[in-house]
């Protein structure tokens, strides 16, 4: 009888490696999906919050209200109600029918903006998958887009920025198909339409326009010049038409009022922060861009990335901020995904080569790709970490990651963000909503119009929105605002109540209010302190 010594089956190294690759990939996807869950929680919280979360939201809603009433949003700021918009008309025009249908509610635009981010994410996946046929290379950058702190902050706001990014991206993605032998011309026209929509959503869409036309010039110079002239004529005709129809207010409010002072330190600071938060996708996109410039053909996506990064310099303008980098983040995600997909496709081809050494090196490369790529995106998720600290779904993760409950540089202690100090991202509470209704009571129960730095209090009280503060401030600083009429009304104490948050008004206006109104209450809401002022008693 033969006795066999007990032994273990030797582990299959290939199987182990595959298991390790799968585990890392699942971990990276789980980390990014967690940040997507945080995005959903934030969106849900904002849909329930009926007041301005960001100071511009109510004004963009008011633009949609004015359009739904058949009124222009480019008006004389010197005359009552001292209100005009500084943005192009498309976004409020798109929302006007919904506002007419459901009433002036912030959730309409917030849901719209959230939807545009889903379209951007879907387009990102589609672009990368279409070019590389690599699901992992398409999925990880797509999730990284939603994980970005900047995208999270502004994604579900009633602001027009993500709508502009969506149209710009669609314009670029369709321009990439211009050489399609059957439908190239149709893609070109579609691209021009999207680019036009992007430009008339927000002026900053010039990066997508420039990238698309430069790409067309590289591939088909004659067509680029002809279509470029046609495009400029259409843009110019709409521009002139708007200016004539508004008696020059369009040019004054959207162009001259936006020429704010440039603060280089602010731009450099945001560049540093943007790079620090997105270094994985940025470096991968940079590698892809170099590959297209020196080893392959320049693509519309590499141009889009470079121009969008350059445009980020405009974040140094007074009133601008990190949101100006949203396009650069989208372009970086595309570049990262395309670069990774192209690399893996090349490695796979080499792994089938007849040359044994090359085959072996390629197989090693494929193993490294499977290990390093999930690790890189796990690191990217850590760089972007942001979460509410008190929500039952995210609190366990905060504890697991040992995030301190209190920190000195936070805007709100119930929210952590790798950005550090940020006024966006936290979830508003029931207490914030109660405080908002208390301010609305002030507006409702005082006679006459209200002078409010945020529009929602007036809108909920059923009163007309008076003033767009930063617009007045910008025009005043540029010497383009007559303040006589508004100061006369303040001196007459024509406004039943004044509500301040940041006091972004021209100094003479603030001075007049100080002389005629007294602070009667301070109301904390959403991390800010709102001052309620009432007319001083007549002497």
């Amino acid at each position: 009888m033969t006795a066999y010594a007990p032994h273990r089956r030797p582990a299959n190294p290939d199987l182990l490696l595959r298991w390790l690759q799968r585990s890392l990939l699942v971990l990276a996807i789980a980390a990014l999906l967690f940040l997507f869950l945080v995005y959903l929680l934030y969106t849900a919280a904002l849909l329930r919050f009926p007041f301005d979360y960001d100071q511009g939201e109510g004004f963009e809603l008011w633009d949609a209200v004015l359009f739904s009433r058949g009124m222009w949003i480019y008006r004389d700021n010197a005359s009552y109600p001292f209100y005009a918009s500084n943005y192009p008309p498309l976004f409020p025009l798109l929302l006007a029918p919904w506002v007419r249908l459901f009433g002036p509610r912030l959730w309409i635009g917030r849901l719209w903006s959230f939807g545009t981010t889903l379209v951007i994410g879907g387009t990102l996946f589609w672009i990368i998958y279409r070019e590389t046929r690599d699901r992992v290379a398409a999925l990880l950058p797509t999730l990284a887009f939603f994980a970005s702190n900047y995208v999270y902050h502004i994604g579900p706001l009633f602001r027009l920025h993500t709508t502009m990014v969506m149209f710009g991206l669609l314009g670029v993605a369709t321009m990439a198909r211009v050489e399609d032998p059957h439908r190239g011309r149709r893609y070109l026209w579609l691209s021009l339409l999207f680019l036009l929509l992007a430009g008339y959503t927000k002026q900053l869409a010039f990066d997508a326009v420039l990238a698309a036309f430069l790409f067309l010039f590289l591939r088909r110079p004659r067509q680029a010049i002809l279509y470029g002239i046609g495009f400029a004529l259409v843009v110019g005709a709409i521009f002139l038409g708007l200016n004539v129809a508004t008696d020059g207010q369009w040019f004054l409010n959207t162009i001259r009022a936006n020429a704010n002072p440039f603060q280089p330190g602010q731009a450099l600071g945001i560049y540093r922060q943007w790079f620090g938060l997105h270094r994985v996708i940025i470096l991968l996109a940079l590698a892809y861009t170099l590959y297209t410039f020196y080893l392959d053909r320049i693509t519309v996506y590499s141009l889009y990335f470079l121009i969008a990064v350059g445009k980020g310099a405009l974040s140094g303008k007074w009133g601008a901020g990190p949101a100006y980098f949203t396009t650069a983040i989208v372009a970086a995600c595309i570049g990262a995904g395309l670069g990774l997909g192209i690399l893996r496709r090349w490695l796979r081809r080499q792994a089938e080569a007849t040359d044994g050494r090359r085959r072996s090196l390629a197989q090693t490369g494929l193993v490294l790709w499977g290990l390093l790529v999930p690790l890189l995106f796990l690191y990217q998720a850590r760089l972007n970490l942001h979460l509410p600290l008190t929500h039952p779904l995210t609190r366990p993760v905060a504890r697991l990651l040992r995030i301190p409950e209190q920190a000195p540089n936070r805007f709100r202690q119930d929210y952590y963000d790798t950005v550090g100090y940020t006024q966006l991202g936290h979830l508003p509470t029931a207490e914030d909503i109660r405080a908002g209704w208390h301010i609305v009571d002030w507006v409702t129960n005082t006679p006459g119009p209200a002078w409010s730095e945020e529009a929602m209090f007036e809108i909920w009280a059923g009163k007309e929105v008076v003033t767009n503060p930063t617009q007045l401030y910008n025009l005043y600083n540029a010497g383009l605002l007559q303040t006589d009429e508004m100061i006369a009304m303040i001196n007459r104490r024509a406004f039943g109540v004044v509500i301040f948050r940041a006091q972004f008004y021209p100094p003479p206006v603030l001075e007049a209010i100080g002389q005629n109104y007294d602070v009667v209450e301070h109301v904390p809401m959403n991390g800010f302190l709102y001052a309620i002022l009432r007319p001083k008693p007549n002497p």
Binding site: F217, L218, R219, P221, L268, F293, Y294, I298, G316
Partner: protein
């Protein structure tokens, strides 16, 4: 069709333009501050990077850009 060489020459031109314009800002006395500030240094660095990127493309010759 635009070639790599043409694109490289265009980038060299653009880089030179950025560098010269950034320096000329001081010579023309444009802007609030005197002296070569951090944003000018950044602009010159960008200009030089564009110039070098273009110069490296020129030897790629008649390959399509």
């Amino acid at each position: 069709m635009v070639t790599k060489r043409m694109a490289g020459i265009a980038l060299v031109g653009l880089g030179l333009l950025i560098v010269v314009a950034t320096i000329a800002v001081d010579l023309a006395g444009v802007g609030k501050w005197r002296g070569f500030g951090p944003s000018q240094r950044a602009a010159v660095a960008v200009g030089l990077a564009v110039l070098l990127a273009g110069a490296a493309m020129i030897p790629l010759g008649d390959r399509p850009a």
